[in-house]
């Protein structure tokens, strides 16, 4: 079963392994909850910064948006335990030296984050032209797991293969990892492309993503966070929720809303509209996640 649902419906799902949304948080310093004595924690999702992109009609502040995001994350009242970056850190290039330079610059910028634990994932712009080789030199493995306060995180690479596939070897690795988890384990999957067929006409899919989803189905508490589509999208495949993040460079239109996939032009009256990042509160006792969406604001200068 696959279902597209809106925020209102998700609010209804809260408390049954679902999600609570908060948005329009511009100007607020961030959530501050008494989580010290619990296993609850925050993590921030950043995505699709496309460092190196140029195009004034889409983002005249291409060199400043990521820097502003870093500043805004640092200004959160409750600092996250860690940050995840779900791909397309840099804009694609055929020139390996330019790719290296962009990754070096990107790494320098995000080193200014106060939270020092950052888990990176590649997007197709970072990894698809050289099978992830340059990316690995800068950021390490493209798929891995880690555990934090009772939550098992799995980063899946669906971009180093330019066909947009996970591949049999990684699927075997995933199967072996899941075999070690309890049926009621809290599992968070991080990836770049949607694992489900969101809109294959725009390449918003993972060719063998259904195999990964099938493997996760026996587990009660699985939530997927991903990037790639440059906008919020909330989708259910059975009981598994999939949440995409906004971009830190350019917003994209909803799937199929125009004949060709083109970035949404910059709005002079609403600069940075559609861009931003996400703060996630993991609430272990409730088996749910509270998502807070933060825009990029003009005054977040550095």
């Amino acid at each position: 079963m696959t279902t597209e649902i809106d925020r209102r419906e998700f609010l209804k799902l809260a408390g049954v392994g679902g999600v609570i949304f908060l948005s329009g948080l511009s100007g607020q310093p961030g959530l501050s909850l008494p989580i010290g004595k619990t296993k609850d924690f925050f993590f921030v999702q950043l995505s699709d910064s496309h460092w190196g992109f140029t195009g004034d009609k889409v983002n005249p502040d291409a060199k400043g948006t990521l820097i502003k995001a870093v500043k805004e994350v640092n200004s959160l009242k409750q600092q996250p335990d860690f940050i995840v970056f779900t791909g397309d850190l840099t804009q694609t290039t055929d020139d390996t030296n330019v790719r290296k330079a962009r990754m070096k610059e990107f790494k320098q910028i995000v080193s200014e984050l106060d939270t020092k634990v950052v888990h990176f994932m590649p997007g197709e712009h970072d990894a698809s032209l050289d099978l992830g080789e340059t990316y690995k030199d800068f950021f390490g493995e493209t798929h891995y797991t880690f555990d934090h306060k009772g939550v098992h995180f799995i980063a899946i690479d669906n971009v180093s293969d330019p066909t947009g596939s996970i591949g049999d070897a990684q699927l075997e690795w995933l199967k072996a990892d899941l075999a070690r988890q309890k049926p009621d384990a809290n599992i968070v999957v991080l990836t770049h492309r949607p694992l489900f067929d969101l809109y294959p006409q725009w390449d918003w899919a993972t060719r063998d993503g259904a195999k990964a989803i099938d493997m996760m189905m026996p587990f009660k508490n699985v939530t997927v966070f991903y990037g790639h589509i440059h906008q919020e999208n909330h989708h259910m495949t059975g009981h598994i929720a999939h949440h995409s993040a906004n971009s830190l460079m350019l917003p994209m239109p909803p799937a199929g809303s125009m004949p060709k996939r083109m970035p949404i032009p910059w709005s002079a009256t609403q600069p940075y509209k559609g861009m931003g990042f996400r703060n996630v509160l993991s609430q272990s006792k409730l088996d749910q996640y509270q998502l807070s969406e933060y825009p990029i604001t003009v005054d977040a200068t550095v």
Partner: protein, 119 residues
Amino acid sequence: MIKRIGIAVIVVASLLGMNCLRADSDDGAKIVKISAKRFEYSPEEITLKKGVPVVLQLTTEDRSHGFNVPSMNLRADIMPGKVTELKVTPQKAGDFDFFCDIYCGSGHEGMSGKIKVTE
């Protein structure tokens, strides 16, 4: 001498790959050629007739590309040095977009074309 020229013509035809000399496939279906290169297909629009079988003959001029027509349930990898054939009999009239689904660089997102199916 005449015999030698005859043989030469046959050899050239073979080297050209038969395809350029052949309008129909072995089973009589019309062949439609589509060539891919970063970041375009040529032609980028083809017209087919509903219910009439054709063979799409796909080649690439540079690197690997994809050919994906989700609304017709058609897809193939186009690999360098190979001719990929897809047999199709359109069942519905209308416009059907195809696109590259093997990442090929900075213009990949715009690499697409259209199949027009007429009644």
